[in-house]
Symmetry: C2
Subunit: 227 residues, 2 copies
């Protein structure tokens, strides 16, 4: 599904150059559930943004579904992204001017799904996340945890091949957090590949493998027999 | 310090009326450290926004430092807020166009602190939160956890009488989370009153009391002998 070779990402500002990722070599196979952990600022979101084709690496190679994409343009990346990837952003990235329904519907519009099917799939996703009662609210009218559940609904509504989730339970109490994890596990058992960043050791264990990042490089990987 | 009497908050949108808080009667004494817990959407942030004079209740009374403030105007509330309260928002609310230093400096500008003292206090707060190396970055150039540490720095820089913190460790790994808690505990021991919303049972225990909310009302309060 995804493979990186000596991946590097360097951010430059007027003052300083930050190496967010340094020689990262990982492979994520179709159908895996991989967790990523590491201290604040170690490069987890940066890695997820690159794996999700939202940003280009500074150096190195990135293979996505057998294409080498490290130097793809935004247009080329957008096409691959819309057809294959669902994303839960760490800061939700909901569109304030759109209602909950319209936010969750967006991925289906890109896929050209018709109105009746869109309505059905959106309702299904909102009910699954128990946020249907807020369907006509705007993001600013929701609590932090409710916004996070809308973000997860949007990521799963198009039934993508790959879900990239950046701390999908960060704003949730443990009951809601467990619900999100059981939904992700269910999707993974049905064949969806999942890469999840988390600070929770308990939730990291849901994956069949944990990649630990530190200061921009992979320090260890823990395997369970599953793969 | 703060007392509420039959506090209610109702949000109305075109479609529906939501009672976010219903007959909340709580008192927070000077020097206490109180935690608030409850499921997603139960009214924690709404309560903190009202206690922090950022929003007016729909009904009931609110006493802040012996003033009855439920019907105060925004101007009156802003004055009391700027002089007494430090706030850590659940969604950070950092100003994107300002650097980390300028964001943290803001409360001191409102208090009329001179340039030299501002610089000294800002440096102290950033060093305490181990984020000094990002002083000239903009919020968009920081990781989620780094933004959260900036938000905590801004809340403590003016040494306010009261700190209201809405999940101050939500985006942090356990090491950084523990650091924030030890800073809050230190401030509390020096006399700062703290009200903290958290989903973490471990961190909730740092308070001398835990208020549990459910569907907009207080269901239980757990006391330790301290007060
Ligand atoms: N501006 C608003 N307009 C309408 N309803 C709102 C608004 N803000 C919050 N609500 C509703 O009020 C209720 C309480 O929200 P609040 O943000 O206080 O929850 P919370 O306990 O902080 O939850 P979380 O743990 O998810 O952050 C929720 O049901 C939410 O949908
Ligand atoms: N746009 C940017 N410009 C400059 N530096 C950046 C930018 N975005 C991130 N960084 C830096 O790159 C490093 C990695 O950031 P990243 O967001 O990937 O961390 P993270 O592991 O997700 O942390 P957290 O757990 O706090 O979310 C950080 O040191 C951060 O300051
Ligand atoms: Mg991150
Ligand atoms: Mg909240």
């Amino acid at each position: 599904m995804i493979r990186t070779a000596n991946l590097r990402k360097i951010y430059t500002t007027d003052e300083v150059e930050t190496t967010a990722l340094n020689n990262v070599n990982i492979e994520i196979k179709q159908g895996e559930f991989v967790s990523i952990m590491g201290p604040s600022g170690c490069g987890k979101s940066t890695l997820l943004n690159i794996l999700g084709l939202l940003d280009n690496p500074s150096d190195g190679e990135l293979f996505f579904l057998d294409n080498e994409v490290a130097k793809y343009s935004e247009r080329q990346r957008a096409l691959l992204r819309k057809e294959n990837i669902g994303f839960v952003f760490q800061s939700f990235n909901l569109i304030d001017e759109l209602t909950v329904t319209e936010n969750v519907e967006l991925p289906l519009l890109y896929l050209g799904v018709n109105t009746a099917d869109r309505k059905k799939k959106v309702t299904e996703a909102l009910e699954r996340m128990e946020i249907m009662h807020r369907a006509n609210h705007f993001p600013q009218q929701l609590s932090g945890g409710q916004q996070q559940r809308v973000a997860v609904s949007r990521a799963i509504v198009g039934n993508p091949k790959l879900i990239l989730a950046d701390e999908p339970t960060g704003n949730l109490d443990s009951a809601r957090g467990d619900e999100v994890m059981s939904i992700l596990t269910g999707l993974n058992e049905a064949g969806t590949t999942i890469v999840m960043v988390t600070h929770s050791p308990t939730y990291a264990e849901y994956g069949n493998r944990i990649i630990h990042l530190f200061d921009g490089h992979v320090v260890t990987e823990n395997y369970k027999e599953k793969f």
